[in-house]
Symmetry: D2
Subunit: 452 residues, 4 copies
């Protein structure tokens, strides 16, 4: 199922599926069934009860519309789901109904279900992050020597390589992915505390049930319930925020490179994306726009989650009730940013010729600083500086190459030989540590790909 | 259709319906049909085309799943919808297909559809705001003389009346509603500009089509398209933010009054809300929690919208694409806050006896300031102050009424007669301008209800 | 005094001055002196006390460092200021000391002082908004006929005029200014409620003191104290948020126009701004960057204010204490955005030749849609569409003008005469309602400037 | 120097000092002096130049007011500082002036200075976090057996211990501190890339200079400059956001416990904090309010930083320029939250008697669930449930202990012996895994303190 139309630019189908009614219900039932199974194994509830619960937990048998309605009435995700399950069990085995949701509380099932959905989200997100990783590493290798304009404050500055640019995107996304992975590992913990976080109804067996249940669900068992201590999930939301910011930065860069007047890189524009039948010159940066939309929405979502952390005593009044929507949105926003970015970088076309052309269109005046440094050693920095100011002004005014202008100034030719002058504006000669920075960013985190 | 389960605490069914796939599609079709009708009337497209378009625009005939999928591919709400409509028209009348979406652009239909959805949202929201208004005005009248503790920094301060409290909630919600109404009036404008906001394809007829179309749709015709000037909708989102903040404040107050240890006011807790079968003492503030959850989520949404305003040139890259999800969420969050608050205040039970009991439980020391002022006139402020410090300390320590303690101090009884002392802690005698403030807040905005 | 170095890009000197220690202290003293004066006039405190208070309220005589320290200790802006004033009065007249801050509370003075600072901020902000207004109106007039590329999703779309672009900026800023003015008018209200918002200590005179005090301070007297009803100031913060968003949009546009590869408009770059001695080609969009920085920071500030609205009972625990910093930041951020934008638009240089050159560099393929519409009337829309697709592809590939390519296609020349073809790519002929929209945006709000 | 008056509730003096003009200037100079020293050592600039630079870098000799003013003009923190240093060097040694800021760029010095200020902030923040850690561990040990009401949705739920509550606060703050430490370690990296991030002006020596410079400044040398890759600092801001959320949660809890009607715990209220001379019963939760104010403001700041991450190409236009103010505010907000919380928990008074009294005031009906479970084993869950419903209703109505009511019901006494009934409402008997959860939260992260 794809997302709702109104959200269609904000979610991928895969992640929308994770947070669909069916999937939410399943996660809920998964908790209750696992709990019953574990409690039966530990002798807390009868075997027949566990079996009846497992049998009744058929997600297709529930009325999702009624569940949604009753959840708003109850004010707690979990309550209506448990009621519906209990009713279903009662139909099979009225004695067993009494053992549904034994010793636990609605927040236990609601939080654990949410965590199970997060667990389902991660491999989907990770897969796209790995696609980005690979595509960027490849671009960074292929374009090791592709010189282009570096731009600061949207103005041409000094030459860089597209390889460095791609490597910088790569390293940021890689760091972001590692942070996110750590945050997921920390966040995927069981919630199990009972009415006030003490598992009172389970007497001395609470902790044992918790550990067994966590193992059954493939989650970590935390040192205590975290009904109102939401820092782990806050860390996870934040990690999504940071990574989406890095993806937004890349999308902004690429959308700027795709401008008609720049034309240095292009999204693939396949499969109905970005093209225009009447305007074949149009290459709309749709993948970038979708990513930028995600990075526009994400900071507010992270802020909402952080605001929601201030929860009262043993169960919050307002903060907790805000979380399902926020976290589902955070995950889906992260997911659409990752998927769009993956598509963009995998399909990216780079116009090396245009890159060089844009570089050359600066008339070489971006090398004025370089010329001043060479000349300065001969005639002093201040004198050199004055000469270059004059020369660059002339270059711009007369639309002539800076080196030509310089070649016509005797104060310059006295000190600089023609060969030096002719090579003045070779971008390859003024790249400084570009290659080191490129290689280090690839290598530091990704030894397998480093080829030299 | 109720909201998705994952969002079930964050939307009412009514507002969720407004932003449902079917409703979004309908709004889109409404724009296209109205456009065709108007253009036919103005002689721009053939009558047959307009008729074919109207006939094809049957919202039940579209594949909503495919539309959602293709919208993400296209990166623009509108493109896939127009394509599907064109296909449907072509099946009926191939010549007519060429006149679908004539002279307009995807953002025109997407934005206008959104505005039409906002227009559908307002009466739903307004109805709940009017319920709140009436319920609070009633409470403020009924409890004109219900004294209770005023509390500052969660500590008992001086007496107030519940009537004043309700009147203050009333006035804030009333102001917020008026601001929201103004913002809706300003925001409900047609979007119609064509590819670059100039209506170039309509030659000299653009402005006439715009005016007629706006009238057809019941929207205001703005002085120009607003493809990248989003301030009107930003104002609307902000007005929702402010009003939700005021509702959150009221919900916080009520949830605090409902605390077991305070017990001064209660939600009705009817219809499955807030009760607990095993814990009959429990009156969970569910309506307040849902409202507080909304007020927790809203500020981040407003921030997202404000961030999205920075849109490039004639159509944005990222900002605009973020808006559908944000605004739909803003409206639904506003809606659930209004609906929950309405239910809370309509069903509110006030325990006047408990209010007085809590007031009296302060032993009268909240009147120390008052005593010091009376006494100060006789023996000087500093001396009076020292006496009262001693007396209140004693009162707390010995758990005796302040006036009793004072009655045992000769420095006091020398100057204060027994009657003055005995009336010292009458809360009704220390209400200052309470009644004026209560009445003014009701009356300033709501002359019809003012009774005295 | 300019702002702190760490905030130097985030505040103007004028607004920083408004929120300086000296100015904050003055506003505080202004409240206390006015209160004493009014109470003396109404016979509540002795004339000598009012005089002593006025005499002691010399803002240069206070230890600002100690005040700041003690304010954090006290946890309330106001308490330490009142203590210091009382001490100063006591030194002059010990009896008078007892009448300082009579019947009021720390929040009264803190909130009213804040409102007085807001009142001082508005004319400073307004002055810059008026500068923007005038400069944009002028640009919109001067460039009525300056055609340029309209750009959607950062891609060349159809021709527009710079006059329309400037008029759209103008209208958005104008709307924003009007909203802000309304919000200031609503927000500039006296705070005066005493310990629990009832003015209990003033008996029957509370309301009279309030009205007289408001008049004395040049503020509106509200219908009741608003200690925990912060919607008016929330509306003000939001209005700043919306307007800063509109200014950010303009700054984004201009910074994009200033790109080396676009080069259509430039900031003045005077007085040490944006230039570079070694790189004379560099025109850094510094004014735009400062504005965009403001629009980056503002949404989070608005969200913080909205979050802070949820305040408990008669005085908040946390929400209120957050406000001084937030609102001072909101005002200063608004101020720096307005001032930077004013400088940018007043100094803006427009390169009309480059605008036309960039338009022409599209080879006329932006007129393919227009050609298809003309041709479609002769040979049907579908056939026309196919021809144009072919022609534009050819035009891009062979880097020839679209009209030349079309002139070489017999299917085209059969139906289009040479004159029509030769005029195909005249941008002036494909502006649609551009002039109407430009004029309406200027005129709708600014009758005085409308010239035709 | 304490913070500005307007910010006095939002910053501690220590952190305000870190971001004071003097400190900012010093950090800037530290970068330039270290750079010169390193470049001299590597033979890049003359020894005399390095010495002149070091000699001129006297932070007391600069005009801070002029620096702030010029920074706004320049639009970049760094430019005006470098100019002023160059002037100062020129006065000493005109040749040396040419070697100031050699091969680097304004963002290098601005970012590195910021990182140096972050480095100064961490030990100040950490010290307060360690205070919190110790105080909470102590409270959690001391109150291992202090039973109190657990409260969910602000309603009494089941018994917990204050030890568990404190341990949960402890563990959350501990986790937050560890995350913050990791984020600081990751974030404290040198910025050094030159004009376009390639260190072009340093030829082959760029990387060597970078490593030596990082060592000189005690910072990590990253694998590449990060002019527009801000994820490390975003991670740091987020970690502050998460930890401040946890502190806000604790402050909310404590402020609720301090309510007049609850009275279970109190801030120390020493040194001018929270007390009131006329109202000795008042114990304002000032430390909590200041912390809650910080947690109200922080989410918006984090959102602003995340929004600012979307920076263009090799240097951002707006995003970067927003950062100094945001990060300085994040650090100071974190600092004031940590300091206030430390003071609160170190001075916390716990009223064990009141805790038990509030527990007992529930009439034992919080044990209804427990009774139903015991009884259910004998008469079936449904029958037991019905009995308890009746009993609790009666208990509330007649204001009698639940166990007394039960003792009067023959259906109950048939199955439950008097001893069981008499112990029904012993909170100590219904704590479940409380002690395990308490101990695990202390022990999991803090082996040294675990005593049993």
């Amino acid at each position: 199922m794809p997302p709702r139309l109104i959200d269609s630019l904000s979610r991928t189908e895969e992640l929308a599926e994770v947070f669909s009614d069916h999937s939410v219900l399943q996660a809920t039932l998964q908790f209750e069934v696992a709990l019953a199974r574990v409690q039966e194994r530990l002798g807390i509830i009868p075997r027949a009860a566990a079996e009846a619960i497992a049998a009744a937990a058929d997600s297709d048998a529930f009325d999702l519309v009624a569940l949604s309605r009753e959840t708003l009435r109850a004010g707690t995700p979990g309550i209506s789901l448990v009621k519906a399950l209990t009713d279903a069990v009662r139909k099979r085995d009225s004695a067993a109904a009494g053992f549904v949701h034994w010793g636990t509380t609605s927040q236990d099932v609601a939080d654990t279900a949410l965590v199970l959905l997060l667990k389902k989200s991660w491999p989907l997100i990770e897969a796209d992050l790995i696609r980005i990783d690979r595509a960027l590493a490849k671009l960074a290798e292929q374009h090791r020597d592709t010189v282009m304009l570096g731009r600061t404050l949207l103005q041409s500055a000094l030459p860089v390589t597209f390889g460095l640019k791609a490597a910088s995107w790569f390293a940021a996304v890689r760091r972001g992915r590692l942070r996110l992975q750590v945050a997921f590992e920390e966040g995927l913990v069981l919630q199990f505390g009972g009415a006030a976080g003490t598992l009172a109804a389970l007497g001395q067996q609470g902790s044992e049930v918790a550990h067994t249940l966590a193992a059954e669900l493939g989650l970590t068992c935390p040192d205590a319930p975290w009904h109102t201590q939401r820092d782990r999930l806050a860390g996870l939301a934040s990690a999504c925020g940071v990574l989406t910011g890095s993806l937004g930065k890349m999308a902004r860069d690429i959308s700027l490179l795709m401008q008609t007047e720049v034309g240095e890189a292009f999204e693939a524009g396949t499969d109905g994306r970005g093209g225009s039948s009447t305007m074949p010159h149009k290459h709309n940066p749709i993948g970038c726009a979708v990513t930028l939309a995600a990075s526009t929405r994400m900071p507010g979502l992270v802020a909402s989650y952080l605001s929601a952390m201030v929860q009262e005593h043993e169960r919050g009044t307002g903060g907790w009730q805000a979380e399902w929507t926020i976290l589902a949105d955070v995950m889906q926003t992260m997911g659409v940013a990752a998927a769009s970015s993956a598509e963009v970088v995998e399909g990216l076309t780079v116009d090396k010729a245009r890159m060089r052309q844009n570089l050359e269109a600066t008339l070489g005046i971006i090398f004025a600083e370089k010329a001043a440094m060479i000349l300065g050693k001969k005639i002093g920095r201040d004198a050199a500086h004055r000469l270059l100011e004059e020369a660059t002004r002339k270059s711009v005014k007369e639309h002539r190459q800076l080196k030509e202008v310089l070649a016509g100034m005797s104060e310059v030719t006295e000190h600089l030989d023609p060969e030096t002058l002719s090579k003045l504006d070779l971008p390859e000669d003024y790249l400084g540590s570009t290659e080191i920075f490129r290689a280090q960013q690839l290598g530091a985190h990704f030894p397998a790909i480093k080829k030299d």
